[in-house]
């Protein structure tokens, strides 16, 4: 599928947490087709920035507009995957995804095939390994139609093969007109991305 041209406009964003200034006067515009990696040392505010853009944190200073509308009105266009498992351990893989995505069963099963969880749809999440649980959360990237992806450490607990699959999926997403923001400690080889360095504000 092809997305309408999308745009995220961040202007003069500032954030302070626990009396520490994380970033200030952060302005940038992200357009369809762009991949942005947010980099920086631990505690630099990567997660805070991503969660702010995802609308999970209240904006302390500045403004974020998506397609010229305030962020709050556009949250259904955002797909956010964070540190937490985002799956319920006592439910099956399929039930978890059904609740979060609302997609039909056939689509979900094919997405599970894409992330290498074919045949696991009836397993409870607590029976899966950590990597498999992570794949289950990531499977949403194959069955949700949101133009803006915000991925916090998506590569954690993935094997080489899955990393490649994920890179390919991100590439095809932005080629279709999506936007992707992510953080990671190991820079991915096969992506064409820009980098935003955090942790240099004083």
């Amino acid at each position: 599928m092809i997305f309408e041209p999308a745009q995220i406009e961040i202007s003069e964003l500032g954030c302070e947490r626990d009396d520490r200034l994380l970033f200030e006067n952060l302005s940038m515009t992200l357009e369809s087709g762009q991949i942005l990696r947010v980099a920086g040392p631990n505690g630099a505010g990567k997660t805070t920035l991503l969660r702010t853009i995802a609308g999970l944190f209240e904006i302390q200073e500045g403004e974020i507009r998506v397609n010229r509308l305030p962020l709050k009105e556009c949250l259904d266009q955002v797909l956010y995957i964070g540190h937490k498992p985002q799956v319920t351990r006592d439910l099956t893989v399929l039930d978890n995804l059904k609740f979060l995505t609302g997609a039909d069963e056939a689509r979900l099963k094919s997405a599970l095939g894409d992330v290498g969880l074919k045949g696991y749809h009836d397993s409870l999440v607590k029976e899966l390994s950590q990597g498999q649980g992570r794949r289950c959360a990531l499977a949403r990237l194959w069955c949700v139609e949101a133009p803006i992806w915000i991925l916090d450490e998506p590569y954690t607990a993935l094997d080489v093969e899955m990393v490649e699959t994920l890179d390919a999926q991100i590439t095809s997403h932005v080629n279709a007109g999506g936007i992707c923001l992510f953080t990671t400690h190991q820079p991915p080889q096969q992506l064409d991305y820009q980098t935003l360095e955090l942790g240099h504000v004083d």
């Binding site: 949250l75 964070g82 540190h83 609740f99």
Partner: protein, 224 residues
């Protein structure tokens, strides 16, 4: 499938996965009720007199017990923050969750109170009044204790703080319900009080989810 149906379906599946969640509060209720004659005296007249009030208080405590962690596991799994991306206002989703909770966790509790009533020799008329008050009052109680649960989400050492914080707000509900029970014992008209209780419940069930959603948003904004 609409988000509303997905919410309810998920709740049902969670219950199927963790049936103990339903039974523990019932177990608690029956235990508390069994303690009453032991602490007081096995005198059935005496028990009948205080029985309905005891059952009310015990049900209230049992309800608090199973609402205390209403949002906790979804919050720590990170599922709760995904609610923000669903195409519905958070307060609406919270309302759905509370309705599901009431249907699947509170209603069963109410339905076993007649057994407790028989154990404490409560008369049939009073028993019906008791059931009616519980039925009408518990939506408000569920909403308030849900608020307590949401307010204390982010704090790791909250203990039963959510319960302590919300209990004073139960005063009007308890008083009105007691009024109904007293009138039922006298044989006088209970309808006006029931209507008042119902009105309180409806207003609480409409407004409190907004406060709950504010509390959840606040706690999501505070966690990493």
């Amino acid at each position: 499938m609409s988000i509303e149906k997905r919410m309810l379906a998920r709740e049902l599946k969670l219950i199927a996965a963790r049936p103990g969640d339903i039974f523990k509060p019932m177990w608690f209720l029956m235990l508390v009720i069994s303690m009453v004659p032991l602490a007081l005296a096995p005198d059935s007249d005496l028990l009948a007199e205080i029985g309905s009030a005891m059952i009310w208080v015990a049900t209230l405590l049992a309800l608090l017990l199973n609402t205390e962690h209403l949002f906790q596991s979804d919050f720590s799994d990170g599922v709760l923050e995904q609610w923000l991306f669903l195409d519905r206002p958070l307060a609406w989703l919270v309302g759905l969750k509370l309705i599901a909770h009431w249907l699947f966790h509170v209603l069963p509790l109410i339905l076993i109170t007649p057994i407790a009533g028989l154990m404490l020799s409560v008369s049939t008329e009073v028993l019906f009044a008791l059931l009616a008050t519980l039925f009408v009052a518990t939506p408000a109680l569920t909403c308030f204790s849900g608020l307590g649960a949401a307010l204390t989400l982010g704090s790791s050492r909250s203990g039963i703080l959510g319960v302590l914080v919300m209990m004073p707000l139960f005063v009007p509900v308890v008083i009105l319900a007691a009024g109904v029970l007293i009138r039922a014992t006298d044989g006088s008209d209970t309808l006006p009080l029931m209507a008042l209780l119902g009105a309180f419940s409806v207003v609480a069930a409409t407004l409190v989810p907004i406060a709950v959603s504010a509390a959840i948003r606040l706690n999501i904004g505070g966690s990493n």
